[in-house]
Amino acid sequence: MASRLARTAVGAARLRPSVVPRVLPALSTVASPRYSSGVPSEDPKTKAQSIIDSLPGSNLMSKTAILSSAAGLSIYALSNEYYVVNEETVVAFCLLSVWGGLIKFGGPLYKKWADEQSDKIKNILNSARADHTQAVKTRIGDVKQMSGVIDITKTLFAVSKETAKLEAEAYELEQRTALAAEAKTVLDSWVRYESQVKQRQQKELAQTVIAKVQKELENPKVLKQILEQSVADVEKIVSKA
């Protein structure tokens, strides 16, 4: 295979010298009207420059060194059959070109998509962080407003303690007065009752006395005795006077 490739290369080389001198005068005739227009005169130079720039290596020396070493290595590998050029090379070339095209064209696309995703995540996380700090700050403000609540609560508690004490005393006094009032009413009622009883007794006594006197008055002997006593009294009075 290597020999066949070499044969075709040699064949191509044999073809080319006959092609090149024929092509060159045409190129010069083509080049001269181009030369007069002026613009594309920079074109071959920039193209050559870009080709040289695309080679690996930093300056001209390293580029030539790398090129020559790559050429030497490939010739060594091919001639010693370490790398055999067969149809696998075609497969390799096609696969590598597909991979290279994907990386070159898909690479920036993927990077853009990846950056988009990471920016989205960053935005979400940052906004969440801002929201959370905001919420914490408002909570701090709210709680700060209530910082005086301790003293207020203490005074409120003292006041309420006093109020409770006073209420207890007032309740006690109230109970006491209620008790006294109740006792007074009870005593009053007793007193009234006693006076009622005494009145009744007096009335009864008076009634019995009057009844006895009336009964005695009905007795004629008593009437005669009273009459005699009254006449004696009147004589006594008349005699005195």
């Binding site: 075709t8 390799a92 096609c94 590598l96 597909v98 990471s118």
Partner: protein, 261 residues
């Protein structure tokens, strides 16, 4: 491989199937008939697993919450397979199968992609590998179904809303199609990868013969070369799609076994 000699130049006719040959790398002949060896398929499978673990280790990004481009790829892979598992199997109880499905997907994808690299070996093009996987998966799903539903598992073979007269025939057909699941799952993957690689190889052989016949043919051979490049792109797409199809079908089979549709 056959050799023919013409004018003392002997060339070997390389068959396009040569790329799938299994060769011993290191072998031990132990205990008489036992031939223990590290073959190239084992080597490439190990390289695939190792490669995946290295990629995962490299894309950890110091456990940061915000991701760089490396970890986004892993996260989006996780999210893709998570969505497959959640949508195909039960959204709540199906998560227990997630590591297995993830491993399957990664295994098939990485091995397909390693086969895409020039001068390497496609392990998933071997029928034994894919059949072992698919038989294991369908058998496992069947055992899962029997464990969960008992003998009611056979109601899977009765499609919904079928007339009673056609029932025996339908059950037979469903049974045969259930058995065919074993083979179809593995065969699909292996046949796709195998055919892709073989076609690539055959076309490349023809193109190589065209391009080395002469200088005019060299430029004429650029047309099939462009076609081969397009086909390689298709192969790359097939590598991803076959992995995804395998995983989606596996999830579907597990759901069938768990839910009895």
């Amino acid at each position: 491989m056959s050799t023919l000699s013409f004018n003392n130049i002997s060339t070997e006719v390389l068959s396009p199937l040569n790329q799938f040959e299994i060769r011993d790398l290191l072998s031990i002949d132990a205990l008489g008939n036992l031939h223990i060896s590290i073959t190239n398929i084992g080597f490439y499978l190990t390289i695939g697993a190792f490669f995946f673990l290295v990629i995962n280790l490299l894309s950890i990004n110091y456990n940061r919450l915000v991701s760089n481009s490396w970890s986004i790829s892993q996260e989006s892979l996780y999210a893709t397979i998570h969505s497959i598992v959640t949508s195909q199997i039960n959204p709540r109880n199906g998560q227990i199968y997630f590591p297995f499905i993830y491993t399957l997907f990664i295994f098939i994808l990485i091995n397909n992609l390693i086969g895409m690299v020039p001068y390497s070996f496609a392990s998933t093009s071997h029928f034994v590998v894919t059949f072992a996987l698919s038989f294991t998966i369908v058998l496992g799903a069947t055992i899962l179904g029997f464990q969960k539903h008992g003998l009611e598992f056979f109601s899977l073979l009765v499609p919904a809303g079928c007339p009673l007269a056609l029932l025996p025939l339908l059950v037979l057909i469903e049974f045969i199609s259930y058995l065919a699941r074993n083979i179809s799952l593995g065969l699909r993957l292996a046949a796709n990868i195998l055919s892709g690689h073989m076609l690539l190889h055959i076309l490349a052989g023809f193109t190589y013969n065209i391009m080395t016949s002469g200088i005019i043919f060299f430029f004429l051979g650029l047309i099939p070369l462009a076609f081969i490049i397009a086909f390689s792109g298709l192969e790359l797409g097939i590598a991803f799609i076959q992995a995804q199809v395998f995983v989606v079908l596996t999830s579907g089979y597990i759901k069938d076994a768990l839910d009895l549709h």
